[in-house]
Symmetry: C2
Subunit: 400 residues, 2 copies
């Protein structure tokens, strides 16, 4: 990492991931308890003396606590990948935070004003307790014995973590995709402790096609014999092949068909004619997917994928909090709500945000929705920083 | 099979699959030759004395020669599945042809008038020579040593097969999806021998997202250790797990998001509350996919899937016949062309048919395109018979 990078305008600089061990056990939705929970986190900016400037940033399926700046850990790999990494990191592989474009001095989440906190979510594989952690009851890794968790459990963990830091109120909770679900859950579970939520490219309940894609990705992992019933830790084998397939499926759902067309067309891989092979990548889009799969399995845990995918599939505010009615589920919300969706996002389509907006309006709540016309699909929430920034800054109040 | 079924109006009745061994070797696009090629086929209706009433029907990825009527083979399984099977076969599992609703007396392809011929395509696993067949050079199954084939190779096989039957001209070639590609290829490869083509829910070149889905499905199969490098025949093991994942991916791409929503919503499986499991299906759409995968692996060969998926991905009329120009590729077409597309088909979207229409019009050819507004996605070509029938009958000339 060169001094030039750390000095670039808007960067929070070099950041070290820290850890907190929660003092008590966590009671989970499934009825089980988790004890000795550790939470990995990073912070950016300064906590105000009155502790009234805290923004919690929540990551999506494959992210981690390293949301901004340059990692202090030597050799750390960025969780940014796919189009997001390519568009901005180039080939250098610098461990930039996954939302570095949004968090920093003068950025959407302005660290000159706010104290931004980012944690690795419960069930994660990047420092927070998850299926790869040691079960204190057995001394062995949990593996598939890890309890099945929900988005509400992730929020419980974040609540307990903030308690440990001595932070009671949140000026805002923000996130995209699964991160947006956590923001919504915060507003429902802790209405008196959250002033604003920023919910980007998210939903109150994943639609059945999204449920299907997630089920297929999980099936690909479980079908890999190296998954070994979820107890692969310590065996020297892990379900990389299945994870690769799962990641490929994810990738295609995160992008729009148009984005794939614009980037790859039907161009062949390094040649002008067909190779006539059923094993080798032939089209550039095929080799791109192989590359994405190979880099993902190096940095991400298959069981974390299973548990996180399950949690985001379960998430259903109307079912869990409103007896089927989204307006009832959101009736207690006190936070002001900013919703951002992207026209080309077919995994978390704008209609889901429109449903949230309509339910909040029916409840007489303060809500604004912006649908950004952009071509990249779901990944827009990581790519379209320039257009999200003024919306978020205005929503959070530009003044000091 | 009850007499009631064979007697129902519009049925071609009980049909037996027949076989022809081609007299000479087939020269393939990849540069290799295949000898001792067998073709499985069925026919419906009567060949006219002047042999001028032949319609060749071409199947899609998972079909076979049994296109219409009730199979004479005891215990034969229908290749109709998914929504198509459920909507019409019910639970009885009668081996109805995959396009039974379209072929028969008074139907779209009217067997009172036409002699309809249906073959299992080259590389298939239902009677025509494919990777599961014995390689005469070694006496062992080809497996992954089977040559990589193209849509043009499928058409070469169909041409040689019709020669063996003594049929020179085709009144029409018809098919959906990969079957539509074969119809297009017929019009390009044999312009003087085809009077009409009916190209349904198809394309001149699969878009990159479709290329990606096919690549992921193939990767799922190859990643299964039971694939064994493609030489699983005779080992007692076959890549059912990988095939299951491939089929699930295919299924979701064949349906529209709206169709999945209408059919399953987010309903849970046989219970009112969550089971908190990462291994069991929880939502009805999850268990539906599992069921589809389990029934598919029983009847279909994984290597055939790989080769057929590769062939339909390769298909690119402009690249292969027009030096990049679709209009140039289609300049020699003499057949009248009927194109049908479905509004909700995102795998073979209407825009692909519009491109074919525009290219044929630019060439001054006789073409008509109908985009049917229907909700089921790509599977519409198997489901929307009632609305396709009058279009096809009118196109083929109602008179006798």
């Amino acid at each position: 990492m060169s001094p030039v990078e750390t000095a670039r305008p808007g960067s929070v600089g070099v950041v070290e991931t820290q850890y907190v061990d929660l003092p008590g056990p966590l009671a989970l939705d499934c009825g089980r308890e988790l004890s000795q929970v550790r939470v990995a986190y990073e912070t950016y900016g300064e906590l105000s003396p009155t502790r009234d400037n805290v923004i919690l940033v929540c990551h999506a399926l494959s992210g981690d606590a390293h949301a901004a700046g340059v990692s202090a850990t030597p050799g750390a790999e960025s969780t940014r990948d796919g189009f997001a990494a390519e568009e901005r990191d180039g080939a250098a592989g610098r461990a930039l935070g996954w939302w570095d474009g949004m968090i920093g001095p003068g950025k959407a989440f302005d660290t000159d004003r706010f104290f931004v906190v980012s944690t690795n979510l419960l069930g994660g594989c990047r420092g927070t307790t998850g299926p790869g952690s040691t079960d204190p009851a057995t001394g062995a890794p949990y593996g598939a014995d890890f309890p099945v968790i929900t988005v509400a459990d992730m929020v419980r963990t974040e609540r307990a973590f903030l308690d440990a830091l001595g932070i009671e109120r949140l000026y805002a909770v923000a996130g995209g995709s699964l991160g947006g679900m956590q923001a919504l859950q915060w507003a429902v579970s802790h209405p008196d402790q959250v002033d604003h939520i920023v919910v980007i490219a998210s939903t109150h309940a994943l639609h059945p096609q999204g449920v299907a894609w997630n089920a297929i990705a999980r099936e690909a992992i479980r079908a890999d014999p190296d998954w070994q019933g979820g107890h692969y830790e310590g065996t020297g084998r892990k379900p990389d092949a299945g994870m690769g397939v799962a990641r490929m499926i994810g990738h295609v759902t995160y992008l729009s068909g148009q984005a794939l067309d614009d980037k790859f067309h039907r161009r062949l891989q390094d040649r002008d004619d067909l190779a006539y092979s059923i094993t080798e990548p032939e089209f550039q889009v095929e080799s791109y997917l192989e590359h994405q799969a190979a880099s993902f399995v190096k940095r991400f845990d298959a069981n974390t994928y299973l548990y996180t995918s399950r949690a985001l599939t379960y998430f259903d505010l109307a079912r869990q909090h409103g007896d089927g009615s989204l307006a009832d589920a959101l009736a207690g919300v006190r936070a002001r709500t900013l919703l951002i969706a992207f026209s080309s996002d077919w995994l978390y389509p704008p209609v889901a945000s429109e449903e949230i907006e309509a339910a909040l309006r029916a409840d007489g709540k303060d809500v604004e929705l912006h649908v950004i016309d952009a071509p990249y699909g779901h990944d827009c929430f990581l790519l379209e920083e320039a257009r999200q920034t003024p919306l978020i800054r205005a929503f959070l109040g530009e003044g000091g």
